[in-house]
């Protein structure tokens, strides 16, 4: 490459022309950072990666006991209740760890930000990838449970990757927005765990979204995780579950909005991160 192709002009408020190309150039750093976070996640723990399986499994047990045995809520179609809970728990666990970790990612990596240049977008995105690895691992329980209940998937399962991508984007948008604000206002560090705890109960994780009365269903669908969880259930439980289209559309719209908001906020603040962190 010639020197001429590398002229950089630094000026106040100058928009980065080659931002997205730069991002591509730094893809190796992205891999390395994601790899680092995955590698250190379960270092110096006794049961290591089993943690990724244990947490959703135990939550599934408790939710099944509380919502099915005690509250006597119905499952979707003939699907076993535990399986229905798990199908909702997988995207929710992914969403909550991804959003929680991404929101703190810039602050926890402050040493990198104040000492080296790279497109900062790499940091929160790499964090979301780590939660994604956890999601893949916890699919192991899903397979085991399906074998246990002798529950065969239908052709719907083929659409699952689409909903995984949707879950990814749903957590990335707010994650970017909050992590950039968190650099300036650390209040968000306290807001997020609270919001996520709250969200576990307002999202249809322990119960089916069909349990929500019809007249409230549209309002309920403003929670973008409703569409994601319904989608997961539709893929996994097959004909027992039915997609509620308005909720899927609202999820797509809200996700797109947050993604736009997140990236805009992030790009706007990116250059001041090193000064504020």
């Amino acid at each position: 490459m010639t020197i001429e192709s590398h002229v950089i002009v630094l000026e106040a408020g100058r928009a980065e022309r080659n931002y997205w190309r730069d991002l591509w150039r730094y893809r190796e750093l992205f891999q390395v950072l994601a790899g680092r976070d995955v590698a250190v996640r379960y270092k110096q723990t006794v049961i290591g990666i089993v943690w990724a399986v244990m947490r959703p499994f135990l939550t599934m047990l408790i939710f099944t006991i509380i919502f099915s045995r005690i509250a006597k809520l119905p499952s979707e179609g003939d699907a076993p209740y535990a399986l229905m809970v798990l199908a909702g728990l997988l995207p929710w666990t992914f969403f909550s760890t991804a959003l929680g970790d991404a929101s703190l990612s810039l602050v926890t990596n402050s040493n990198l930000i104040s000492k080296v240049y790279f497109p900062r977008l790499i940091i929160p995105t790499a964090t979301v990838v780590v939660s994604f690895v956890d999601l893949l691992i916890s699919f192991v329980i899903l397979v085991a449970m399906m074998v246990w209940y002798r529950f065969a998937p239908t052709v719907n399962i083929l659409a699952l990757p689409l909903f995984v991508v949707l879950a990814f984007l749903t957590s990335l948008g707010p994650g970017l927005w909050i992590t950039s604000l968190n650099v300036k206002y650390r209040d968000f560090r306290y807001i997020i765990p609270f919001m996520l705890q709250f969200g576990l109960y307002v999202s249809p994780v322990g119960f089916s979204s069909t349990a929500v009365p019809e007249q409230w269903r549209l309002l309920y669908s403003l929670n973008p995780m409703v569409g994601v969880i319904d989608g997961f259930r539709w893929c996994i439980l097959g004909g027992n579950s039915h997609i509620y289209w308005p909720s899927l559309v609202s999820t797509a719209v809200i996700t797109a909005f947050f993604l736009w908001l997140g990236i805009r906020q992030f790009r706007k603040m990116e250059k001041t991160f090193a000064d504020l962190i």
């Binding site: 020197i3 950089i8 000064d275």
Partner: protein, 430 residues
């Protein structure tokens, strides 16, 4: 094609800094605490609503770390950037390495920049040496292939072959630094920006690093910007210099001229009355206001004499009232070219508790001055009850005159190094 690789025009950078209002008394009433809290909350809430930065403290002030700085650097130059603490060196490097953006002005850079502002950025303690080499390399902008190609060289340079698969949290600090520097030393960008990183590690390794840096700059006409307080290494490494003071360029030219300019600026500040210096650190429970020199009998003198006793009195004002408390008073001596010669400190001698008065002085008796004639710069530190109370860079100078050190009537002149040693010579048949 222009030969200028970096051109900086009117560069300025502003920071906002908060100040705590001075509290006259140590204690304040509940009402004062509450009103201050409410006022502060009002301000931060307003700032947040306007999307502004939250600044800690009672009043906010603008601080220009760089103001209207302009200079140019040609291809292949090795530029030493020097200046006192707070002159704007680090801010300049941060802007050049694109970590932060300028408030005003423009920088044009032709070529790929790699910056080394800290040794071992992004090292993860849980990962092994091998993994960290790849991690750190990627962070510094090397591709996986480049790192692979240089892997053996890096390991060899760092001398850590045996521990490659041990997590770096088990490394000794020396090994850690060696590994970190080794990765950085194998960067091959067109422009390299280096902040004070050679000040780590043992002397031998520092020499090795300096040699490596020299290779880096000598080969392939690479451009290097090098910040350091270590004048001998700047002199060895750099071809030209840039001296910064209060955010502007005070001197740009050959390295010898830059260093001379820097040394003379140190002299000027030290002549400034200590009492009025603002660039100090510490909690201020004790402030040094003056330093004076005295002979054995306590008579005031202007300079020390080689071979004679010297009393150095460090005068202070404090918030104590004659209590005997743990005190840590220290001053060091640097030669003309910036080499650290020695350090005087009360705790070395076991005198760890001293009486501290509202106004008073600490005295250090130096029974026999063993410096050749010249002027020696000193940085002063006072800690009280294990907290830094006052810390002044280049606080004062000790002028030393030629003297009859060996009692032979012959004066010791300045030609043979800075130190004079007691010595006894005899001859014998073997």
């Amino acid at each position: 094609m222009s030969d200028t690789v970096i051109s900086v025009e009117g560069l300025s950078k502003r920071y906002l800094v908060g100040h705590q209002a001075a509290r006259g008394e140590r204690y304040e009433t509940l009402r004062e605490t509450v009103t201050r809290g409410v006022r502060r909350f009002g301000r931060t809430a307003l700032d947040m609503a306007r999307g502004r930065q939250i600044v800690q403290g009672d009043t906010v002030e603008e601080f220009w770390a760089l103001s209207d700085l302009s200079f140019e650097i040609k291809r292949g130059e090795v530029v030493g950037v020097i200046g006192r603490n707070g002159a704007g060196k680090s801010t300049l490097l941060k802007i050049l390495s694109r970590i932060t953006e300028p408030t005003r002005g423009k920088v044009t850079i032709r070529g790929r920049v790699a910056s080394l502002l800290e040794v071992g950025t992004g090292f993860h303690p849980e990962l092994t040496g091998r993994e960290n080499i790849y991690l750190n390399g990627a962070i510094l902008g090397m591709t996986r292939r480049e790192i692979k190609a240089k892997f053996d060289e890096i390991v060899d340079f760092a001398e850590v072959e045996k521990f490659l698969d041990t997590p770096v949290k088990r490394y000794s600090s020396g090994m850690y630094v060696r590994l970190a520097f080794a990765v950085a030393a194998h960067l091959e960008p067109e422009i390299l920006v280096v902040d004070e990183v050679l000040s780590v590690g043992d002397a031998e390794f520092q020499r090795k690093c300096l040699g490596k840096m020299k290779d880096v700059s000598a080969g392939q006409g690479r451009t290097v910007l090098f910040v350091s307080h270590n004048m001998p290494s700047v002199q060895q490494l750099c071809t030209s210099g840039l001296m910064l003071s209060h955010g502007t360029a005070l001197y740009r030219g050959p390295i010898d001229g830059t260093i001379a300019q820097y040394m003379s600026s140190l002299d000027q500040t030290s002549r400034q009355e200590l009492r009025s210096r603002k660039d100090r650190e510490g909690d201020g429970r004790l402030r040094v206001v003056d330093v004076s020199f005295h002979d054995e009998k306590g008579n005031h003198v202007e300079a020390a004499i080689c071979g004679q006793p010297l009393r150095v009195r460090i005068h202070y004002e404090s918030q104590f009232d004659g209590q005997e408390v743990p005190v840590d008073v220290a001053f060091n001596l640097r030669s003309n070219n910036g080499i650290l010669l020695t350090c005087f400190a009360n705790i070395q001698t076991g005198a760890e508790r001293l009486a501290v008065h509202r106004k008073g002085y600490f005295e250090c008796l130096w029974p026999k001055v063993n410096l050749r004639s010249g002027s020696y710069m000193s940085t002063l530190f006072v800690g009280v009850e294990e907290q830094t109370a006052d810390w002044l860079q280049n606080a004062f100078q000790i002028p030393v005159e030629e003297g009859n050190f060996f009692g032979t009537g012959r004066l010791v002149t300045r030609d043979h190094g800075d130190l004079v040693m007691e010595q006894v010579w005899t001859g014998a048949s073997a």
